[in-house]
Amino acid sequence: MNTRLAKVLVNGLLCGAALVALLPLLWMLSVSFMAPGEASSLPPPLLPAHATLANYRELFAHAGMGRYLLNSLLVSSAITALSLACNLMAGYAFAKLRFAGRERLFQALIGALVIPAQVAMLPLFLLLKYIGLVNSYAGVIVPGMATIFGIYLVRQYARGIPDELLEAARIDGAGEWRIFTLIVLPLLKPIIVTLAIFSFLAAWNDFMWPLIVLTGQEHYTLPIALASLAREHAQDSELMMAGSVVTVMPVLLLFLSLQRYYLEGLLLGSVKG
């Protein structure tokens, strides 16, 4: 009897929490299909009277949403691919290759994690200005090409690769690059997927740096475009919700389809702070 009550309580609370977590997202979806002005009435409607795609049409036809979507895809994919390459090589080196000062260098990197990225932003802007990368895709991509977190993640995982495997390959005369591409990378596949999702999501959702370095709207990524739309079209809630859907949905779907990898990475990354 007592257990049944507890069961109802536990599951009831979980249902409530899930509702709170999902309601804003469901509401966003619903309002995005409402006719302009419909959401601003009393009582606030929960579902559209007549579902319409007008907001999406408006977004893509007049607000340039297609361009921003492509920008976001391009920038996030480039950051993902390039940072994967850099982080995998470095993480593997820290885990498996011996060189003088390895531990000290790694400790220094971990120590640098306490520095907030924003400290670097002001001089970084000046640096990119002199290289000529302000207001370009490269301006967003270049600083994200390697991350300490990513190197750490790869190192943690790569330490599990048995040394004998690598030694055997070396004795067989395989070069280091060959060992890396043919033996190590296949073994790192799970962490590659994990890191790829992490990098992609982080790049997609990034706000402050693109806001600073992208000065012209032709290069805007979705979050920047959405923030600027929100300042101009504050009263058009239906349009803004459609914009939010376009921004949120790709990453949400990506997460849902590869959830297992994402959560594993999250735990792996937090084992040691």
Binding site: F125, K129, L133, S136, T215, R231, E232
Partner: protein, 430 residues
């Protein structure tokens, strides 16, 4: 060995190639024919409608209009300068010209004007033209103008026994005092929102003394002239002729003006359209505009508005000048006025029917002949913000006029510290 090396090199080359590709696609395609024009707010929307005619007249030039919201325009311009991404042509609030010139961001326009048959300096209102001249060099061509003057309730003035709007401060004070005795209780003679600097600034510009001294090195707010203006301004609050409110608390100044809460309202040209739209037809005969009263007879006003500038970094300066010339043609300016209500900066453009026959606009026409520019220092925007913050405290009675004037000078001198240092250390640079 060599195999391995080449693989490694190839991967490095791939990385570099990818980066180079990214840089390459970031550069705008340069065909020498596309002009970028930045314009703010409604001007940005409307100017785009004028572009097809320009492009027809100049085949081969394509104009890309980017519209900047007013709220972020100042920041966007500075960011564009900081990031070397300035446009070819831009609309610039004329108080920002000094700021961008200090950054060496603007192209001197004198050589262009000298050979132009369209842009005739003598045809422009002199006070407005002067806002574009910094240290003797011309950096902008006025596009549209704005100034602050009096909107007044003709019927209320008449009921109080006055048949004409005031011409000088003494008459103005008399009228306000009478109106205030007449009404009282929730009604006021005049609306002066305490967080808008334009009203006090208008009064201050009517004085003989400049607002900054020693070539813009120090504030001159303790001069007798500024104190006179400040005392007159503060007096309107202390005698309860003006309510102590910020414009965020005035939800709808137009209907309040219509209801007679205020008999005078010191504001700009855009409000002609607002009053015509928002007040009922029966009331349209009750309001009118008048030039600003001065300390001794009709006074001067602020030389406000926007100019068109060419950025120094533009690779298409000749085409950019063609665009400025096009937008300076009287018939194009008349079209612009009809689309938007922005008043043209040159007398020829005022010959159009829409402007010539508009009595509300004529007061502006008269005032525009007597407008004075604000000090052309880059720090002016910050100085005038501080001026109003202190003046609002004086209006609230927290400080006296003398204390307020001293405080404004103190803050201004602090803001100008870097300017003084630069002027003193490398005079040769500028």
């Amino acid at each position: 060995m060599s195999f391995r090396r080449s693989r490694r090199w190839r991967s490095a080359a791939l990385l570099i190639g990818a980066l180079a590709g990214l840089c390459a696609c970031s550069r705008p395609h340069d065909d020498g024919q596309t002009l970028t024009l930045w314009a703010m707010g409604r001007e940005g929307e409307v100017v785009a409608q004028l572009m097809p005619a320009f492009e027809r007249a100049h085949p081969g030039i394509h104009v890309e209009v980017q519209q900047l919201p007013w709220k972020v325009a100042h920041q966007k311009l500075l960011t564009a300068f900081a990031g070397n991404t300035t446009p070819d042509v831009a609309q610039l609030g004329n108080t920002w010209i000094a700021e961008l010139d200090a950054l060496h961001a603007l192209e001197p326009l004198q050589p262009y004007v000298a050979h132009s048959r369209v842009v005739q300096p003598a045809d422009y209102f002199p006070g407005i033209w002067a806002t574009n001249v910094i240290d003797g060099t011309l950096y902008g061509v006025p596009w549209y103008v704005d100034t602050r003057l009096l909107f007044y309730r003709r019927d209320l003035l008449h009921a109080a026994g006055f048949d004409a709007p005031p011409r000088d401060w003494a008459e103005w004070s008399r009228q306000m005092a009478t109106l205030q005795v007449h009404d009282g209780g929730g009604r006021y003679a005049i609306l002066l929102p305490t967080n808008e600097f334009e009203q006090l600034l208008s009064l201050a510009l009517q004085q003989d003394e400049p607002l900054l001294r020693d070539g813009g090195r120090y504030g001159n707010f303790e001069s007798a002239g500024f104190k006179r203006a400040l005392a007159f301004y503060v007096g309107m609050f202390q005698q309860h002729q003006a309510p102590l409110v910020a414009n965020t608390e005035v939800s709808n100044p137009w209907t309040e003006f219509g209801r007679g809460v205020y008999a005078f309202y010191l504001s700009g040209a855009w409000n002609i359209g607002e009053f015509r739209r928002r007040l009922p037809a029966a009331q349209q005969g009750d309001w009118a505009t008048a030039p600003l009263p001065g300390p001794h007879g009709t006074g001067t006003g602020i030389a406000g508005g926007s100019s068109l500038v060419i950025f120094r970094a533009s690779p298409h300066k000749a085409q950019a000048w063609l665009l400025i010339e096009y937008l300076s043609q009287p018939q194009v300016q008349q079209q612009f006025y009809e689309l938007l209500g922005d008043m043209p900066p040159r007398r020829a453009s005022w010959q159009g029917k829409a402007l010539r026959d508009d009595p509300a606009a004529q007061a502006f026409r008269e005032q525009l002949e007597r407008v004075k520019p604000t000090p052309a220092v880059p720090e002016w925007e910050r100085i005038v913000t501080e001026m109003q913050l202190v003046a609002a405290r004086a209006a609230h009675g927290e400080v006296t006029v003398d204390q307020a004037a001293a405080e404004i000078d103190r803050r201004t001198d602090a803001i100008l510290e870097k300017r003084r240092w630069m002027l003193d250390h490398h005079r040769g640079n500028r």
